[in-house]
């Protein structure tokens, strides 16, 4: 009989105990009812309305007069090559937003994680773009992208990349990158804040253990840092994806989806269909398609993170 046969478990961590059951039924009801009601009125009901609109043909000018058309709107969308472009643009926009803002955020977080003089100030300053209102950000970037007097044009000219007058926001091949630069500038600080917070959770002992085991910097990152921050990065990916899918103001103010639809994301398309073409039904269908995509992404996220947890023995 070995001494380990009946090993007492290491003391379990304090179980976060659910409160005992003595609260009557009305306590949770009382706590939750106001917000539930609120969300029902201001989110639930409009959402249902939108869904109903999406199966009708309705004009913005007379939204009460519907003609039920079934899934005709969806069918037409799926056949519409312009909408295919919308999906493509949205996908590119979202993927690049996620990759670039997380990549840049990670880089920034790693830079700001170490010890150096003025670290606190640097950490604060780097997050400024996140605090800047999107409308203001759009305006300054429009000016910076100005073909004649914008900084980017000057820069391109200076570097000999262009002979001047490059029409960044109106050149089909540059417009989306320009929008992306603006968006990423705005959101990468958010990733860096989140990743920075996650980095604080990397036990220094683990790093040291890896160093003693002879790992170089990159190996330490891969063996210790990355696995620890991965859940945070995953959640970040989800959030940025969902937010990118619904980002409106910056794109609308900068290009309104142009040129040639090269920056026409789902939400821009939705808005244009609703408010320029006055076609609420089709617009609602676009919205629902976007929502379905967002929900699918979310489910994929949960599925993947569950799998990752299983793989690492968490469950």
């Amino acid at each position: 009989m070995s001494r380990t046969a009946n090993q007492p478990k290491a003391r379990p961590e304090a179980v976060p105990r659910a409160a005992p059951l003595d609260h009557g039924r009305w306590v949770p009801a009382f706590f939750v009812a106001p917000v539930a009601l609120y969300l029902l009125v201001f989110q639930g009901y409009p959402l249902i309305q939108e869904f109903l609109l999406s199966v009708t043909s309705t004009s913005l000018l007379d939204p009460t007069k519907h003609a039920f058309v079934g899934f005709e709107n969806y069918r037409e969308l799926l056949l519409d090559s312009e909408f295919h472009q919308v999906l493509r643009v949205t996908a590119i926009y979202t993927v690049v937003c996620v990759l670039a803002s997380i990549g840049l955020g990670l880089l920034a977080a790693l830079l700001l994680d170490g010890a150096f003089p003025g670290r606190g100030l640097a950490r604060a300053l780097v997050t400024i773009p996140w605090a800047a209102p999107p409308v203001a950000a759009a305006l300054i970037f429009v000016w910076m992208f100005n073909a004649q007097y914008g900084l980017f044009s000057h820069l391109a000219q200076f570097l000999g990349l262009s002979s001047g007058g490059t029409n960044w926001l109106d050149e089909p091949s540059y417009a989306l990158p320009a929008i992306l630069i603006t968006t990423i500038w705005q959101i990468f600080p958010f990733s860096s804040v989140v990743i920075l917070a996650a980095l604080q959770g990397v036990p220094s002992e683990l790093r040291e253990a890896a160093v003693i085991d002879g790992a170089d910097r990159l190996s330490v990152f891969r063996a210790v840092v990355w696995p620890t921050i991965r859940p945070s990065v995953a959640l970040l990916t989800l959030l940025i994806t969902v937010w990118s899918l619904r980002r409106f103001d910056v794109i609308w103010l900068m290009t309104q989806g142009g040129p040639l639809g090269e920056t026409n994301t789902l939400v821009i398309d939705l808005y244009r269909r609703a408010f320029v073409y006055l076609d609420l039904g089709r617009a609602a269908a676009v919205g629902i398609v976007g929502l379905v995509i967002a929900i699918l992404v979310t489910f994929a996220y949960f599925w993947l993170s569950l799998r990752a947890e299983k793989a690492s023995g968490k469950r």
Binding site: S2, R3, T4, Q7, P8, K9, A10, R11, P203, E205, L206, E208, A209, A210, V211, I212, D213, G214, A215, D216, L218, S219, R222, A223, V224, P227, T228, S312, G313, K314
Partner: protein, 411 residues
């Protein structure tokens, strides 16, 4: 591989946390760094490992100066308090990691190819064999393909040991590796680490603040306080001949009683009783130096060195019982002495209580008047001003036997 620290000092900014520590242990010793929280034990260990730089002084390992080498160049293994297992790797990977790192080439960073190579190293017969032998030795074979978080505390502990052992380092450094375990498991793991040391040899440096761990595991103990070394010696030396009142009260539960006394020639006077010093006891020389022939000392007596007798009997000290606690096979009795100061703290803040342990269930009651006989079989005398040991006698005066360092009879 001998470990030698020479005048090692460490400061964080203006704060000096290790103050000129020197010590040296020979091959295959089990050195324990002991001391209260914050005394600098971990800092010393981390300097040996190379996780902290030294501010001044030198560290030698097997005759080679290592204090300027990076951690990976020192050939030491480190077992962390929280084990620091890589949570997303299986036990096998955890143990194999140092071996993979040993054969690492920069291009292993290239995603797919690097992984392939790493897997190849991991599956090479030598690595596999070594990992499996290690696992076998630690009874981890069954859990090799599980992840750390599914293991019990003891198993995790052993994985951490395994990861250290597999490299066959020249020194094992451990920072309170047992403090996360519960009492029972701790006892079991204590024995396992001791046996590991006996089996694999090499130097062990072990940090703890638990005197029982230190006494049972170490072949040498370095007792620290506030960054400076208080005493460095075998467990027995430290128990029986504590270098100062701090050591005296740090080691032993309940701690040694320090009773105000005066040494005069071959006698020691406690309160009104005059007791003869036994043969072979060292006596303080300070008193002689001061010309009076008398020295005021603290008489250090372990709680077991008293006999409880009816009050007023013989040369006994008079007192009253203030607390009786029954702890298993013995009873602990606090006795308030009348008119005699005692020290409860290494800095000599005075009280007048002593703690006495007697075997079995004592029927004494709080408030009862008792007499205390002092048995001067083993005792220590400390200077009242400096707190340094100035005399005394070990139960069996082992230093004269020339058996220093041979206290651990397990071999």
């Amino acid at each position: 591989m001998a470990i030698k620290l020479e005048n090692v000092t460490k400061s964080f900014g203006a704060l000096t946390v290790i103050d000129n520590v020197s010590l040296e242990v020979g091959d295959d010793e089990f050195l324990v760094l002991l001391g209260p929280s914050g005394c600098g034990k971990s800092t010393i260990l981390r300097m040996i490992a190379g996780l902290e730089t030294v501010s001044s002084g030198q560290i030698h390992l097997g005759g080679k100066r290592v204090d300027q080498l990076p951690p990976s160049g020192r050939d030491m293994a480190f077992v962390f308090q929280s084990y620091a297992l890589y949570p997303h790797m299986t036990v096998r990977r955890n143990i194999a990691f140092p071996l993979i790192m040993r054969q690492f080439r920069w291009w292993f960073h290239i995603p797919v190819i690097g992984d392939l190579f790493k897997r190849r190293i991991e599956n090479s017969p030598e690595v596999r064999g070594l990992v499996e032998r290690t696992a076998d030795m630690l009874a981890l074979t069954k859990v090799l393909d599980r992840h750390p978080r599914t293991l019990s505390g003891g198993q995790r502990q052993r994985v951490a040991l395994g990861r250290a052992m597999v490299r066959q380092p020249s020194a094992f450094l451990m920072d309170e590796p047992l403090s996360n375990l519960d009492a029972k498991l701790r006892t079991a793991m204590r024995a396992e680490i001791t046996q590991l040391h006996q089996r694999v040899g090499g130097n062990f440096v072990y940090v703890t603040h638990d005197q029982i761990e230190a006494m049972t595991m170490g072949t040498r103990i370095a007792l620290m306080r506030d960054g400076s070394l208080q005493q460095f010696g075998t467990p027995r030396e430290i128990y029986e001949k504590p270098a100062n009142t701090y050591v005296a009260r740090f080691i032993g539960t309940p701690p040694m009683n320090l009773i105000e006394a005066e040494v005069e020639g071959m006698t020691v006077r406690v309160g009104t009783s005059v007791l003869p010093l036994p043969d072979g006891a060292e006596r303080p020389v300070s008193g002689a130096a001061s010309g009076t022939g008398r020295s005021r000392v603290w008489l250090g007596l372990r709680p077991g060195a008293f006999g409880i007798v009816p009050p007023g009997q013989g040369k006994s000290l008079a007192g009253t019982v203030t607390l009786v606690e029954h702890v298993g096979a013995e009873s602990l009795i606090s006795v308030k002495l009348s008119g005699i100061r005692t020290a409860h703290d290494d800095d000599g803040a005075p009280t007048d209580e002593v703690m006495v342990s007697v075997p079995g269930y004592s029927e004494l009651r709080v408030g009862e008047a008792v007499g205390l006989d002092c048995h001067l079989k083993d005792f220590s005398l400390f200077d009242q001003d400096s707190g340094l040991r100035v005399g005394g006698r070990a139960a069996e005066d082992f230093t004269t036997n020339g058996r220093v360092g041979a206290i651990r009879t397990a071999s």
